[in-house]
Symmetry: C2
Subunit: 350 residues, 2 copies
């Protein structure tokens, strides 16, 4: 790989700055958060594909824990393909698309809005088709993302969902301040994390299969890290909750099938610790990342991150070792992470 | 593998009979379906792990398309680990567990019931802890399942969800009759399908990675087939929607990374056809299953199934080639599908 083309890696490093830019838009989030709260929604419907869908997994927790609303990664096909006759009148829709051009997400928003939902577009292009179809638009403010593999747009999606959920709960100042401090902590941590992933990438150069394990809000992190490994390193990396692992996939592990665990200091930690013990007993190599990486016994590799200023914000730190590892592993395998095979920046798939 | 121990295969063959037994319990489903309808739920919350969670994916469509209710695979950790303060008073909970002993599913039901949800247990053991904690219980009536890898309990979960959703919509007779005819059609189809999977299993003996692609209600089928391949054949098999595939995973494919597609005659078929074309362009081996297997151009292997009596019931037919293939591939690889590595029939993981 030509070192001058390391766009993906450069964009990973830009994340703290991208977050600080997003935080300049607090007023927009307060306006939209209040509008959502006025709707008194019975459901927040999150839609998106790829990294945007991984971010939606985080939104389930952000809305569940801040305003106490039920949020779901809604089925796009149910309304767009099957024409289900659902009641959206007490729903808020949050549509996630970096480009704002994902076809079925645009169609979903049109249908949900016609049926009475309050529709919010969260996109890096406020002039996009998605933004024009939604009633309200929030900026991702990540700056242009040139690498095909997303990084800073995912990162700002997490932050934006936390900020929107915080504003819906009237707690925007606390979340805003936590995010600001997260940007500072992360900027300090990146150089050391870059150094720490390099030897793991060398050791993993011939790995073709991995599981990435998280639980609770770290499931979003697991989904995004698995997607990075899949698209930039051509590893069959599957995200699983710690409980999913025990209900089947544990059977497939062996010494050439490593498991990446994301362990944070939160109430799901005991489930992660138990899952890691199962992995170890299966003879698989274990990577422990996250703020509680030190709690995972028997890990061959550890990538601890600092504790987040607020527990709910931990995915913004936890995801970064995975992004950096994907960049390093792609290089070790001789792939160009900026231009994965058969992918384009805007996916127009049905 | 000792042929006398082919319990998993025997239980796959038993599925039509298990379904007919379930259909004897129509009255129970009508009673519970009416109770759900009286609640006028704003959300049907489906919870379960492993195969039960795959069945929950089907429930999203069954409730969305029959009574027109929003159903979601709810986050268990949000309430059980994080103590989220959610309003369950207008929710119906359908808790899925073959054994009725899955710890966090039991805890979830307790909390949701305390907070006002109408709780329904769907279990193969009506004397289980789960049944005792839920307000209402529906039988799976699959008979004892002795193989660690589930088959007929998953199959009857699909049927039970369709029947419950049908009863909630006052359409139980139509669904009941469709299911009865499905049992007949499937019983006729199984011998030919068993013969058809054998040569594919031989060709796939050294495969270690696969994707299983479905969309809409066939996503549930994709999830269950991927889980069978993972636990009985130790293949890293990941379920994806056709759209997920285009948003990243397509990059990882090569000639030793085959893709199993589930194509049915329904409105999501064009998305499947498009995804299959991407797979072919990537040089990966393509298996086409489902009632519309003939529509997938360039597939090296085809496993067509008969059309279902009602489109929504197609997963009950689509899943069977995958189950039979898993049994045959396990044998080709020298594994015992009845006793996967490190798994037990009842999973008591956190």
């Amino acid at each position: 790989m030509n070192a001058s083309k390391r766009i993906f890696l450069a964009e990973v490093r830009e994340q703290p700055a991208a977050l600080l830019t997003l935080l300049e838009h607090l007023d927009d989030f307060v306006t939209v958060g209040r509008a959502c709260a006025e709707r008194k929604p019975t459901a927040v419907r999150l839609v998106g594909h790829g990294s945007s869908d991984a971010a939606a997994s985080y939104g389930v927790y952000a809305f569940g824990l801040l305003p106490g609303w039920t949020a779901l990664r809604d089925s796009i096909s149910l309304s767009v393909y099957y024409g289900a006759d659902l009641d959206y009148s007490s729903s808020v829709v949050v549509a996630l698309s970096q480009s704002g051009r994902t076809p079925d997400v645009v169609t979903y928003v049109e249908r949900a809005r016609e049926r009475g939902a309050l529709t919010v577009a969260l996109t890096n292009d406020p002039g996009s088709e998605l933004a024009s179809r939604a009633e309200l638009t929030l900026p991702l403010a990540a700056g242009e993302e040139r690498s095909v593999a997303a990084s800073k747009t995912f990162f700002n999606q997490l932050a934006a969902l936390a900020l929107l959920a915080g504003a819906a709960a009237g707690r925007e100042e606390e979340i805003w301040d936590g995010l600001r401090r997260t940007a500072v902590v992360l900027a300090d941590a990146i150089p050391e994390l870059e150094a720490a992933v390099a030897p793991i990438a060398t050791a993993f150069a011939y790995v073709g299969r991995m599981y990435v394990i998280g639980r609770g809000y770290e499931l979003a992190t697991a989904r995004e890290i698995a997607l990075k490994l899949t698209e930039t390193c051509r590893v069959a990396a599957e995200p699983l909750t710690s409980t999913d692992l025990a209900h089947g996939p544990i059977a497939a592990l062996d010494s050439m099938f490593p498991v990446w665990t994301i362990a944070s200091h939160d109430p799901s930690l005991p489930a992660l610790v138990e899952a890691a013990a199962r992995v170890r007993a299966a003879g698989a190599t274990l990577v422990a990342s996250g703020s509680a990486a030190g709690e995972i016994e028997g890990a061959e590799w550890r990538l601890p991150v600092p504790a987040a200023p607020l527990p709910l914000l931990s995915p913004l730190l936890s995801v970064v070792p995975g992004q950096l590892f994907a960049a390093a592993l792609a290089e070790a395998k001789g792939f160009d992470p900026d231009r994965p095979e058969r992918l384009t920046k805007v996916t127009l798939a049905q």
